[in-house]
Symmetry: D2
Subunit: 374 residues, 4 copies
Amino acid sequence: MIQTPIRLGMVGGGLGAMIGEVHRIAARLDGRFDLIAGALSSTPRRNAESAAAIGLAPERTYDDFVEMARAEAARPDGIEAVSICTPNHLHFPAAKAFLEAGIHVICDKPMTSTLNDARALARIVETSEALFVLTHNYSAYPQLRLAREMVARGDLGQIRLVQVEYAQDWLTEVAHSKQAAWRVDPAKAGAGGAIGDIGTHAWQLARFVSGMVPERIAADLTSFVPGRRVDDNAQVMLRYASGAKGALWCSQVAPGSENGLTLRIYGDRAGLVWTHETPETLWFTRLGEPAQKLRRGAATMAGSRVPPGHPEGYLEGFANIYAEAADAIRARQTGQPYESLLPGIRDGVEGLEFIDACLRSAASDNAWVEIGHV
Amino acid sequence: MIQTPIRLGMVGGGLGAMIGEVHRIAARLDGRFDLIAGALSSTPRRNAESAAAIGLAPERTYDDFVEMARAEAARPDGIEAVSICTPNHLHFPAAKAFLEAGIHVICDKPMTSTLNDARALARIVETSEALFVLTHNYSAYPQLRLAREMVARGDLGQIRLVQVEYAQDWLTEVAHSKQAAWRVDPAKAGAGGAIGDIGTHAWQLARFVSGMVPERIAADLTSFVPGRRVDDNAQVMLRYASGAKGALWCSQVAPGSENGLTLRIYGDRAGLVWTHETPETLWFTRLGEPAQKLRRGAATMAGSRVPPGHPEGYLEGFANIYAEAADAIRARQTGQPYESLLPGIRDGVEGLEFIDACLRSAASDNAWVEIGHV
Amino acid sequence: MIQTPIRLGMVGGGLGAMIGEVHRIAARLDGRFDLIAGALSSTPRRNAESAAAIGLAPERTYDDFVEMARAEAARPDGIEAVSICTPNHLHFPAAKAFLEAGIHVICDKPMTSTLNDARALARIVETSEALFVLTHNYSAYPQLRLAREMVARGDLGQIRLVQVEYAQDWLTEVAHSKQAAWRVDPAKAGAGGAIGDIGTHAWQLARFVSGMVPERIAADLTSFVPGRRVDDNAQVMLRYASGAKGALWCSQVAPGSENGLTLRIYGDRAGLVWTHETPETLWFTRLGEPAQKLRRGAATMAGSRVPPGHPEGYLEGFANIYAEAADAIRARQTGQPYESLLPGIRDGVEGLEFIDACLRSAASDNAWVEIGHV
Amino acid sequence: MIQTPIRLGMVGGGLGAMIGEVHRIAARLDGRFDLIAGALSSTPRRNAESAAAIGLAPERTYDDFVEMARAEAARPDGIEAVSICTPNHLHFPAAKAFLEAGIHVICDKPMTSTLNDARALARIVETSEALFVLTHNYSAYPQLRLAREMVARGDLGQIRLVQVEYAQDWLTEVAHSKQAAWRVDPAKAGAGGAIGDIGTHAWQLARFVSGMVPERIAADLTSFVPGRRVDDNAQVMLRYASGAKGALWCSQVAPGSENGLTLRIYGDRAGLVWTHETPETLWFTRLGEPAQKLRRGAATMAGSRVPPGHPEGYLEGFANIYAEAADAIRARQTGQPYESLLPGIRDGVEGLEFIDACLRSAASDNAWVEIGHV
């Protein structure tokens, strides 16, 4: 039996934003949410235009997200959940406002702009009855879920190596778009540039699939573009408590790279390779055997909508997060148990710990620093 | 300013169907339609279950599509458009019923189960005020739209060769699923098997991109699986009036092929290659120059929702058809001009002409037969 | 214990030829031959230059291959084998001369320029004590040898489909090079253009791997380039006695195609795909299982010189023919049994039967014609 | 006019070796060398067997390479050049012996087993009249030569990033083959394991193409296989004097990796990607333009033997080194000028500087160390 769609609000994601529209499509794709309220843009006039463009009623359009949280919580038909798609520095106050109002939060990453905020948010989440979901969407690709499962059940043997990278080229030159502008402004993005915007995705994915967080890292951060105040490239070496090693490279200045997230994990018995350009293929090679091309939908349709050979991609992966969030919200509302792989507050804190550790290592000429021990 | 969603009904696409859910997601993805009525399954009990599963109100759930067309046309809040996702033999009567009721039709392919029906439908469409859209979804992939444009503006020079193929493996053995069952039953699928189910896609795509319909074809049809009453493999040679040549291969018995649609077009100056496994890449090679990898979203975002490197796929392509259908319907309703590349009645008739020609050629030991001259 | 190199002569392959140098490298690569005599070019002056360029002694340089066969056969240190790399029309008289002189022949393809010559040559080979090897080099790629073995032992089940193609672009325009000139001159190439030059390779390979020769074919031959007197494109449909079907496409006018030989074979249990651009990979998919990437050298080093990951290619495949020819010659000389997969007179006759059938089918508007029954 | 083949000797490369046979094929492929003398194996009996297997005359078979250098130098028909293919620790004494005897040396890498030896050898080369060539064969792949040229002429703009990696899996477990045994024995391989065996290739290639040597590196070396006394994995971060950054990863314990050398270079205007699995393709992307697939032989046949689409690989690349060495030797012998890109003593010293710096960095918990300043 189909469930009634969840009443959804949105903070950020106004005209000119890219990720807001992604959240809206993802929410809509499986029909589990109705978007009915929002505080989309930062000026009243722009906000009204943005709301009109996506069909929000004027009385459900708010110039201020704190007011929105209060007003919606007070309505009998108020939103049950909110998507937060603002620049990073507003994630914390917005998430705080809604969580404290008992409204479930689906928040973009990186979770906050400082580690302190992340930890403060963790305390709020701990005591809130509302759910907190972080849209590390890549971890919802079926083949990366499969990879995680294979690692967990020992198909690779003892993990030795985690090589992860995320390369783009859209900030190779001084960029002027709205999307670019706040990402290179420390006041809005936080102190991390590439490490925050895409490095946290790589970090989360490596942990999600490997099941391990590095114990120590050493990071070399660079701002290649003249005048840029945040890093646009990072080389990071990883050491795990188990003795495993790894490397993380993220860059926004690598011409020819579109959205090049690649994860390779090697154990003492087998290796796995996944790359975003072909997200529906997971390469699996047992030592001494032929590589196998594991395809989405071939073994299981979990997380899939159409059979193998009918390409799914970024929006479907993102929609998987929303679909599971809907399940989780309904389960929470009805007091039923619900297990999921949804990324959440833990992923968010870990992401900020990663950014913080990169900055500390960079500040000490790339020395090894411990994760999380500030 | 966002437009009010179009009120949509659905015929077919009940529980157990694959393509009905594809139509629903495609309709929902851009928020341009609200699905509010349906005649989904062939028995009342199953129909009620199917309707409940997708949240249709019982009073908008119909056991009979003729009754549905009548009733909805009579309601002030009746559906404006209908999606037809039944087995092939019902496309014609359903489309007829809704078109005659003045309701816009979005129909799955092949358009009808006989060429006579196709031609009859063409006459109905000609005199109807309602639109008729045929979901040849592949022609809405941005890189195939680009390919079409490149051919049309002469980037390839004079076209000499059109090589198109569509290979699957899901009918390699006797198949028992609901989806398989009607496709191999001539009473429901029409006299064509693979040529109808996937050959028409290949045929439409070759025409869409090349801008040319073959003048004559010679077809070798085979039913490899014992007891199968329709073809599951076809080799077809193509001759164009211009002197161009080509080949079309479609198969549902090629193990290792998922949904392998590939189109290659060669002119006297350049060649184009597109394959469904990597739908966002169009390979373009000018004679004597390096191959270029033309990527979705790189030159234009037309038909795209997210930037290059964020994979879009089958559902997004399908949704492009729905989004354009929405634009076309709104334009028709308001009397505004609207140009589009939407596949429609012409594609549908051509598809049946292809099936018919294949059957005629096969009946005369693979002789060359003319297209459309029955 | 290493064997003494075989004394080798060469007919054709003078300055400006491409394939002659390929034969020389292939002969040299494994150190099994010493090239010591030749009739390389068609005029005495050019012949002397060609011989000097590769270091042949003047007294072993002949202006006429018949004289060469006679003279070398009479010398105690005369050549034991000869490579024939002339334009097609000279293959027959040259092969005849050397075979009748008791000298082993390694001949380029197509074997002769007419089917009559091919059959005449077959009778000569039958009664000669000398070996006849035809350089269908692709069949010596290790992964195609593996494919053949897999088909033979039933890994694919009953073979249903053989799709083979060979696409190039170097004759897209009127071509003036020495290599191009004779290939489009029926007096030198024979009546077949693309079907002779590359179609015979595709034909041989399909037979080599599938183990089957089609019973009937229907061929559509085209000369796209104005003024060209031989075909530069062919679409061919294949029917096998077993009920299997197939298609062969060869083209020399497909811009963006370098040397694009691709073979796909499908049975009722599994499929195989091999393509020349990545010759060391054989894709194998059992119905319902993940595709496996079978790599050269991984399971066996047969036909390999270096481990997987150290790319081997065209010259190594060609050299495999020469290495096996050396083994075969030494075995013949010492009266020892020797089994091999070397292509020879049978492949040559079959190739001319293919050309002949294509021409007969084309002459009767593409009707089905039987193979070999002229 | 063809030149007389160069008389060649070989040290190392006896039965059971892999790389010795590679040198022999490379020397033979273009017909520029005759192998006539050798000290192939480490025991007299084995040496005699190895020599017989490749057809060396007993009187040109030596049990000791010092004796070989002396004897051959004294013969009027003595070798002109020698190939050194022993385990690493013998490269230095062997190269010294032949260079001091005036015999040209073609030596495998890494050049020596210690940096001291490397520097000592550099002094010997400086004063010798004989040439010293180091077989960093990858730098002779035509597409990497092209890459170097493109960087040098500024096609990429200012270089910012150099990402190089070399991953294999053949030492994932304790290995017992002859080839494996000495490579993991510090007495024979030197103190470096993977960094010496494959890391030096990656290092050399990055320098060759980028034109830059890093100023400082930080290296994390690991021996994953229990009991192994040398590194089998290394993560290395690179800093260039220009401000460019980079990373080098080499591993012999990455299951599924065959011989995975990949180089990516990014400037502020364009990027280049080359990977060994498809060595004939160089990917080039100007910022904001489609990626171009630059193929071997397409623009120039330099370093090629056959046209594009006829795959060349590892042995052809290796043979390019030998062919150029032959040119260089003949030029030296005749006092003619000769410019080439042949790797030599500088590459060798740099390789040992790399190994040395890795070991120093690893010894100080991965601190940044300067290259070459010991």
